[in-house]
Symmetry: none
Subunit: 215 residues, 2 copies
DNA sequence: GCAACGTCGTGAAATTTTCCCGGCGTTCGT
DNA sequence: ACGAACGCCGGGAAAATTTCACGACGTTGC
């Protein structure tokens, strides 16, 4: 990788977007795109056959998602260098991606220079995180990143689960044999503990943390 | 437009993705990208100052969404030609976009040729829809299912989108330049029209219909 | 021109959310 | 054994939100 060109595998389900990566990366000497994949399975296959020095991977992919693709590639090659490049400006996703084995996380809103820098950093063995995500991670670290199951008592967690299951306050009260007032109080307390202001945010938080799977 | 080059305004909040459009379109004779915008407001401003022959517009934009941007541009110039190019493979979005005044709807999973063809079709005055969305529209027509996009007015749909984007009533009111009371009224009306009793059900419905993608 | 509809907003009632409170039982460290 | 801390349950009242009824305005379509 140091003497010759660094080879790159692009993974994104949008062909025009891959064209964008290509266009940006081609301007950099020492980088060469040798393959492209439109989904996770194809990325895995191509990684094994082409052995690129770096993978640039989107997260929202058909079939197995990007995170799972990262995990599989890393399972096959512990030294694989994978840079996640995604639209999700979300610290939670970044944590998951890095834990799955990614060596970098850059958002698509970043300017091309940020992507190029991240590519070089990862090739040099560093971990690359784009500034916006760095910032968000710092914020969540400071404010204590309310991780649902963690800050909630068992009872609160149960109520949250039922709330997400589309039950009304009255139905939950009956299920739990308590007063609707208690459920309402818990509902309010849950939102407070999780630091969300509305039910909509609550559902989204639950989705992020995998509390709500089937839609 | 027929004799000289056709001028194009690109709207997408991801710079690398704009680079992709550019790269694909540059290969076509007779097309020239003259401006780029990263959000709806900037798109509106640039449309007025640059008067491009065609706008290629993403839907998920910061601030006012793509649909609203389409509406405003068309309000200013009834003859504006706008081609929506988005990741949302969802017939509901397509319906809303066309109703708002877009002349085409192409998904980002489409091959570059499809985008190029759509650009030429829209410039020639036709309505361009990518095959996958055509198919989905046909299916929904057959099964006769009423999606959120069908029963909601454009304005209601826009408010729904903003609600799902974790905005508060006040923020939405400010974004749309209306009274918070109006937003609250619409919020209530939306829940009524969609037959849901709570915000939690609302989010779940939106998820089922693919209106909510980024978590 | 008129009817129908979308949009925006007000006001008042109905409901929900939130906050503060106390009681009860359990756990835990001293 | 004892107090302190905490989880759990709910009442009461204030605060905020939701809902409903209603009217105004512009546009569209017949």
């Amino acid at each position: 990788m140091s003497t010759a060109e660094a080879t790159i595998l692009l993974v994104d389900d949008h062909s025009v977007v891959r064209e964008g990566y290509r266009s940006v990366l081609q301007k950099q000497p020492g980088l060469r795109v040798i393959a492209e994949a439109a989904d996770g399975a194809e990325a895995y296959r191509l990684y094994k056959s082409e052995a690129p020095d770096l993978v640039i991977m989107d997260l929202s992919l058909p079939g197995i998602g990007g995170i799972e693709a990262v995990r599989r590639i890393r399972q096959w090659d512990k030294a694989a260098r994978i840079l996640v490049f995604t639209m999700h400006e979300n610290a939670g996703f970044a944590v998951q991606a890095i834990r799955a084995g990614a060596r970098g996380y850059v958002t698509k809103t970043s300017p091309p220079e940020t992507l190029v820098r991240a590519v070089k950093d990862v090739l040099a063995g560093k971990i690359a995180i784009s500034p916006d995500i760095d910032h968000e991670l710092a914020l969540s670290r400071i404010s204590g990143e309310s991780s649902a199951a963690d800050v909630l008592t068992p009872r609160e967690f149960e109520v949250l689960r039922l709330l997400l299951a589309e039950n009304t306050t009255e139905q939950i009260a009956e299920t739990l044999h308590v007063s609707p007032k208690t459920v309402a109080n818990l509902h309010s307390l849950i939102k407070d503990k999780l630091g969300v202001g509305s039910d909509i945010e609550l559902v989204r938080l639950a989705l992020r943390q995998g509390l709500l799977t089937e839609v």
